[in-house]
């Protein structure tokens, strides 16, 4: 049994949020550079601006994008960890609150009906999972909503199968067009149920862009969907071009014999995700 004060989790959330808001992941930067090399015209101009923007943000510790996102926090908590201190959710929110104030990040969370802003970007969008071991893995994903708004959940039938999955992924990106800030990163959940399928898609977005699922049949869906998306011609910012998506990441879970849920969660080109194990 290991004891861990939730203050350590709060401080970790703070560190990761500060870094994520101002930094693209190295895999994202490489993918943007490759896209810039492949494009011309307005799309090339957009990608070059974005690479310059990433440098400016890092050098000046400014947010890469003004949409510093909904604070998505994933915690994988080892079952041999005994948490002490203030309640876990309060500790996580405290880390978010401090990071968004100190980092001059935008506060983007509001009541869905009154639209009144909570003023400090809390509550965090917290998911916890109990796993074997005695560590706590913290993942911080600031999720912008221009892209979140373009996400879709499909309850396909089993007979639609693999082709139906690829079709659903490509169709979601086609319908989104220029709106989610392409080139996008596409997180896909396959299987599970209505709720867990969407979470799988979000978790897929925490993988490095360009990585492949370990299962060959799933990796082949990622590959075929990416090719289908890049044949759409939408390009960076919708200005037309060969690179509409930087990657497709699929995660899979068992489902019911009657169903085939597919969730497609769109992430803009501004891929920010930080991880630390305590």
């Amino acid at each position: 049994m290991r004891t861990l004060n939730t203050k350590e989790i709060s401080d970790c959330v703070y560190r990761l949020a500060r870094k994520a808001g101002t930094t693209l992941t190295p895999a994202c930067r490489s993918a943007l550079r490759a896209a810039a090399d492949a494009e011309e015209g307005a799309a090339q101009f957009a990608l070059a601006t974005l690479l310059e923007n990433a440098d400016t943000a890092q050098a000046e510790r400014m947010p890469v994008c003004q949409d510093t996102g909904m604070a998505v926090v994933l915690l994988e908590i080892g079952q041999n960890v005994f948490l002490t201190g203030e309640p876990l959710a309060d500790a996580v929110n405290d880390g978010v609150r401090r990071a968004y104030a100190d980092g001059y990040f935008r506060k983007s969370i509001c009541d869905p009906l009154t639209r009144v802003n909570t003023g400090d970007n809390t509550p965090a969008h917290l998911h916890t999972e109990i796993v074997p071991g005695e560590t706590v893995k913290v993942t911080f994903l600031p999720k912008g909503f221009g892209s979140e708004n373009m996400s879709k959940l499909y309850m396909l039938t089993p007979s639609e199968g693999r082709a139906g999955i690829v079709r659903a992924i490509v169709e979601t990106v086609r319908a989104a067009g220029s709106r989610p800030c392409p080139p996008v990163y596409v997180g896909v959940g396959i299987g599970g149920a209505f709720d867990s399928c969407a979470l799988l898609a979000k978790k897929a977005l925490t993988r490095d862009v360009g990585s492949k699922n370990a299962r060959a049949d799933v990796a082949s869906i990622e590959e075929e969907a990416l090719a289908g998306i890049n044949a759409l011609g939408i390009g960076a910012q919708g200005f037309g071009g060969k690179v509409t998506a930087l990657g497709v990441a699929c995660e899979i879970a068992p489902t019911h014999i009657a169903g085939l849920p597919v969730a497609v969660n769109i992430q803009c080109h501004c891929i920010r995700c930080e991880k630390e194990t305590l």
Binding site: M62, V64, R179, G238
Partner: protein
């Protein structure tokens, strides 16, 4: 890249074509979903607006707070399509144009043509870069909306692309 000073002259309007890269200098005003709703409420009640539409370019954006020594925090464009509900009426009332990101509706395109106005696309996700071109920022209306309030920006060499020109040609047409 063409250097353009706002407001656009009639010859600028003729010379700008969808897909052209431009560097904009002049005055622009931020407004997003909530600020637009408030403007419409004022219009519906016949009350004066906090901005003069016929002297205004609206930038669909909500900035991050300004760190010490900077006029503005990160401030790239937000998705323009959400403002399709508002843009045609504002253009018909004299709005000079908009800056945002992504395609807009056929109704908005028709209103741009009808009023001979231009819609510019800024580069979404370029927030830190845009902060550099914002030299002055001033709160104009709706302070309770925080980042969604209306701010007046003085910008210099603000990079953008002509998204829909005054003839209705769009960079998003495939």
């Amino acid at each position: 890249m063409k250097k353009i000073t706002l407001p656009l002259s009639p010859s600028d309007l003729n010379a700008l074509h969808a897909g052209d890269g431009v560097l904009l200098s002049g005055t622009i005003y931020t407004a997003r979903d909530c600020a637009h709703r408030r403007l419409f409420e004022l219009l519906d009640r016949g009350e004066p607006l906090p901005i003069e539409l016929d002297k205004t370019y609206i930038y669909y954006a909500g900035p991050c707070p300004a760190p010490a020594g900077k006029a503005c925090g990160s401030c790239g464009p937000t998705t323009s399509a959400r403002m399709n509900a508002f843009a045609p009426r504002l253009l018909d009332l004299g709005l000079l144009g908009m800056i945002g990101k992504g395609e807009m509706s056929e109704e908005t395109r028709a209103a741009l043509v009808r009023n001979k106005k231009v819609y510019f696309a800024a580069i979404g996700g370029g927030g830190a870069q845009y902060a550099k071109s914002i030299k002055k920022s001033e709160l104009v209306a709706f302070p309770d909306l925080l980042s969604e309030a209306i701010y007046r920006f003085e910008v210099v060499d603000f990079p953008a692309v002509v998204a829909i020109d005054a003839r209705g040609k769009s960079v998003y047409d495939r």
